[in-house]
């Protein structure tokens, strides 16, 4: 299985010296889901049942991206969803993001996050949200560098008693009358990405 795991996914979206990035494909759930679970559950104090993974992967598998090393080991994954939320027509939500410990600090999570964000933008997302523990400095730094802002603090949000920050990234200006559209330089700034 090991030497075919990444192979089943066809051409990588992106390749670096030691890594190949792929979009998740639910046809091969039996192969990838255990790898994804194993990677993510390492950093969780509370377990997610297999249904939680399936809930995301079955409905929004196209927002899930994976990074494999040259030995076909899964080193990073991002899992997201995109749906209506209150009066926001399409709100993206990054549910899980993890990189194997030995591979951290090399920009892998940033790349995965950008892939899922790009996919959401392509699908017309209005905004993207997520939560992190207030103590998770690497994650906060990562999202802030991408342009997310902390929008709320949530007291005792996690079972371990820790508080969370809700992060938000506006993708579009809500279509409200009287609002100016982007300045030209801002449009350029966005296209640049």
């Amino acid at each position: 299985m090991v030497d075919t795991a990444a192979g089943l996914l066809g051409e990588p979206l992106e390749t670096t010296d030691e890594l190949r990035y792929f979009k998740y494909n639910s046809t091969y759930e039996t192969i990838y889901l255990p790898l994804i679970r194993q990677l993510i559950s390492k950093d969780l104090s509370e377990p997610y049942s297999i249904y939680v993974y399936r809930y995301f992967l079955y409905q929004w598998g196209d927002l899930c991206f994976m990074a494999f090393d040259n030995e076909d080991g899964l080193v990073g994954v991002v899992v997201s969803k995109l749906e209506a939320h209150r009066d926001v027509p399409l709100r993206g939500y990054i549910a899980m993001l993890a990189v194997r410990e030995e591979y951290r600090g090399k920009g892998i999570a940033t790349k995965l996050a950008r892939m899922t964000i790009d996919a959401m933008i392509e699908q017309n997302a209005d905004e993207i949200a997520l939560e992190t523990e207030v103590t998770n400095l690497p994650a906060m730094k990562l999202y802030e560098q991408l342009g997310f802002l902390r929008s709320k603090r949530l007291h005792r949000y996690y079972l371990n008693g820790n508080a969370a920050f809700r992060f938000l990234l506006l993708i579009k200006e809500p279509a409200a009358p009287g609002h100016d559209f982007f300045d030209d330089d801002e449009l350029a700034e966005m296209k640049h990405t």
């Binding site: 939680v52 964000i117 939560e131 802002l149 902390r150 949530l154 007291h155």
Partner: protein, 805 residues
């Protein structure tokens, strides 16, 4: 007004599931193991059919992982699912050789040092529960507590240690002490639990209400339990079987629980009158407990996470919360401090004083616990019962009119009408007066509920207070609009003439003016809380302080407007009575206080808005930018942030989103804000161009001159701020409405004054660097900024600058 149903509170949902699950199913308790269920259930009215094979066949058409769900299936449902044979989800799952339960014999001989150890670990559990963890992972994890509470004791006598179901005939002295210690502890939990769950408002994130079918000795009067303790303490006084040092340690521990129970079983009277001594007595007892902790010896097995299998059988045991003993003591000491402060609320005569008191009570760090906040709410509703009245009483109306009078000192006719409405008419009312009286009545009714919601909002946990204030501000915007109509309406019954300001006619709008000021204060609080809660990133601080400054300047203008009318009216009074004079004087002093306070915040915010642009970092991989660069670029041009998916205008939009429905004040849009800052910058450059006449700066390159002009501006802001804070500090405590919280009020001002001085120091330090030959531009600065860097006041983040070696 409800808060987000936080969509992927995945972990939270697990917990809510477990609660629901236990209540609805309680599976393993109803269905003893070993009972064989018959394969087919046959009754006369129904017939059954084994669908196993057709189900299997149907399932065979599905791919593995294919999700079959209806529209209503949510993430919460997905999270609620449990997985068999996963140790973290399957409550029955055991590692090979692992027992289902730990066995600990509560009747085994107990040494004094072991008793001390157990008492201390129980205290840690008791505190962890109060912090907000469920009973199952705290107090109920103690084998002693479980042994006493289950099976449920029918008499107090039965509330003791039992071995395999039978009450132990004779307990050793140490065991007796442990039993009473547990009883006191459980009973105090009972009071706290009931207090919190009976209180109208606590938040789900603050406290777990699940009792797992274990009543906390609710039916037994606390006097009986206390009496047991008193008797034991008497015995211990003379007993010599336990060595002196240990005995004293044990006595102080018993006394802590005894005093704690005393303090939490309060009636309203006892908090108001005797609350303080009770908490102070407890505080005294804590020191010896802390000092003698080392005498204790811990025994393994007395705390077991597996006890959760008995109480919450559908989810696997979660780890017991481990709180260190020093933190537990710290917590208890804080509780005592908060508890003794609470009674001060009696000194609050009006809503302004109450808001002040609540704000300072809540600003303590760490924030007072849920229990204390519940007590606070309870006292508020006791003292200010009109806030929650279904229909506003005469007293309530009178109190609300007092608030308005204090700030805007309205027209005499309005005052008379208010009085007529609340106290009763002095003489027969003319038609106009009747109309006015009805209008005042309507006014009080309009603001009644919003006032209560505002006060209640201040009693929540900090994070929630901030979020709720975003809603209350919108509500007060609507209130203000309604009152503007009312204000315009009542002009026909009063003799109000507009003030002539140049070409403009100014009408007073007294009632809506008062409401507007409340809203502006809420907007200021929201921004200050955002800083305190670290919702504002370092790089946004400058903008946030800029906005804060902007709101304050709006409020400043508003207060001046109010003062204009009050003064005009005062001048027109002929032969004012002493009472009238005093009232006007109070209003003018109140307005002065608020004005000083607003200027103080605005000036410090503006100073910091400029100062906090100093540490801007452009590219983390490169060394920090040259100081002059940052200073010239400042924050005034669009911030070049490495944020590929965002833009200034989108960030601005997100930050101002909570306020977009507020009509007044309407926060500047992104481009307006840019224009404001640009004109500020232009002025600055102009000033800088004039500098060449100033000898020491003559030879500096232009960008450094601009930098210095900028620092000049910072300095003048800091100077203004210092003066204004001094002014605030000199305000009579009764004008500030801080009688009930004077110590905190003074300490708060002191800390802000320190922040102000620190901000001034940053500016003068940087100035020196520039003036002492930074002309070459080779000046690398190291900047620390944020809560970790140490602050005098959580609202005010002053950067620390150091020159790189």
């Amino acid at each position: 007004m409800s808060e987000d149903l936080d969509e992927a509170a995945v972990t939270n949902a697990i917990s809510s599931f477990s609660i629901a699950n236990q209540q609805q199913h309680g599976l393993s308790e109803q269905q003893p193991s070993g009972v064989q269920l018959s394969r087919h259930i046959v009754s006369r009215s129904s017939s059954s059919k084994d669908i196993t094979s057709s189900f299997q066949q149907a399932a065979g058409w599905l791919q593995t992982g294919e999700l079959v769900k209806d529209e209503l299936f949510t993430l919460f449902d997905a999270v609620a699912a449990l997985e068999i044979m996963d140790a973290k989800m399957d409550s029955g799952y055991l590692e090979p050789g692992e027992p289902l339960e730990d066995y600990y014999d509560v009747l085994q001989p107990l040494l004094p040092e072991e008793l001390i150890g157990i008492m201390d670990s129980l205290l840690c559990l008791q505190v962890a529960w109060q912090i907000g963890y469920p009973l199952s992972q705290t107090v109920f994890a103690s084998v002693f507590v479980e042994n006493i509470l289950w099976p449920e004791p029918r008499t107090l006598k039965e509330a003791t240690f039992r071995s395999r179901g039978t009450v132990a005939p004779n307990l050793s002295l140490c065991q007796q002490i442990l039993r009473v210690y547990c009883l006191l502890l459980i009973k105090s939990c009972d009071f706290i639990y009931r207090r919190i769950s009976e209180e109208t408002y606590y938040e789900e994130e603050d406290f777990f209400t699940q009792l797992y079918n274990r009543p906390l000795l609710t039916v037994f009067p606390s006097e009986q339990i206390s009496l047991l303790a008193v008797k034991l303490l008497e015995t211990l006084d003379t007993d010599t079987s336990i060595p002196q040092v240990q005995r004293e340690a044990i006595i102080s521990r018993l006394k802590v629980q005894y005093c704690f129970l005393d303090a939490v079983q309060d009636t309203l009277e006892s908090i108001l009158e005797a609350g303080k001594p009770l908490w102070e007595k407890l505080l005294d007892q804590l020191q010896p407990v802390q000092d003698s902790h080392k005498l204790g010896k811990s025994i393994p097995g007395t705390i077991s996470s597996k006890l959760q299998r008995r109480i919450a059988s559908s989810v696997p045991p979660r780890p017991v919360v481990e709180l260190s003993f020093p933190s537990a003591i710290e917590f208890m000491k804080r509780l005592c401090k908060n508890g003794s402060l609470l009674g001060e609320i009696t000194k609050c005569d009006d809503l302004s004083a109450l808001v002040m008191f609540v704000s300072f009570f809540q600003a303590q760090h760490p924030q007072p616990t849920t229990y204390m906040r519940c007590q606070l709410q309870r006292l508020i509703l006791h003292k200010f019962s009109y806030l929650e009245e279904p229909s506003l009483s005469v007293t309530g109306r009178h109190k609300i009119y007092e608030e308005v009078t204090r700030l805007v000192y309205p027209d005499t006719q309005l005052a008379i009408a208010a009085e007529a409405d609340s106290i009763g008419p002095v003489d027969e009312l003319t038609r106009d007066k009747q109309e006015l009286t009805a209008a005042m009545h309507r006014f009080a009714v309009i603001v009644h509920k919003p006032l209560w919601i505002y006060v209640r909002t201040l009693t929540m946990n900090r994070s929630r207070t901030r979020r709720m204030l975003c809603h209350t501000a919108i509500e007060w915007d609507v209130v203000q609009l309604e009152l503007e109509d009312l204000d315009a309406d009542i002009r026909q019954y009063t003799s109000e003439r507009p003030l002539q300001e140049q070409v403009e006619e100014l009408w007073e709008y007294p009632l809506s003016s008062w409401a507007y000021d409340i809203k502006l204060r809420q907007l200021i609080s929201i921004h200050q809380l955002s800083v305190e809660l670290e919702i504002i990133h370092k790089e946004e601080l400058s903008t946030t302080y800029w906005t804060l400054q902007w709101i304050c300047s709006v409020r400043h203008g508003h207060l001046q407007r109010i003062a204009l009318f009050v003064k005009a009216r005062a001048n027109k009074l002929n032969r004012p009575t002493r009472v009238e004079l005093e009232a006007i004087q109070t209003t003018l002093l109140t307005l002065q206080y608020h004005t000083d306070h607003t200027i103080a915040i605005a000036a410090l915010a503006e100073g910091l808005a400029v100062v906090s642009t100093i540490p801007r970092k452009r590219n983390p991989t490169k060394p920090l930018p040259k100081l002059y660069h940052t200073l010239t670029v400042l924050n005034l041009l669009s911030q070049p942030r490495r944020a590929p998916y965002s833009s200034d205008s989108l960030r601005h939009l997100l930050r101002t989103r909570p306020f977009q429905h507020i009509l007044q004040p309407s926060l500047p849009a992104s481009n307006q804000e840019k224009a404001l800052k640009a004109s500020f910058y232009e002025d600055l450059v102009k000033t800088a161009r004039q500098i060449p006449h100033n000898p020491p700066r003559q030879n500096l390159p232009a960008h450094l001159k601009e930098g210095l002009a900028l620092l000049d501006h910072v300095d003048s802001m800091i100077k203004t701020a210092r003066k204004a804070w001094d002014q605030v500090a000199r305000t009579d405590v009764s004008i500030a409405r801080a009688e009930a919280c004077e110590t905190a009020w003074r300490a708060d001002i002191k800390n802000i004054q320190k922040s102000t001085i620190a901000a001034g120091l940053v500016s003068s330090t940087v100035r020196k660097w520039i003036e002492n030959g930074a002309g070459e531009g080779e000046l690398d600065v190291q900047v620390e900024m944020g809560h970790d860097a140490g602050l005098y006041h959580v609202f005010w983040i002053v950067p620390k600058v150091k020159r790189k070696a």
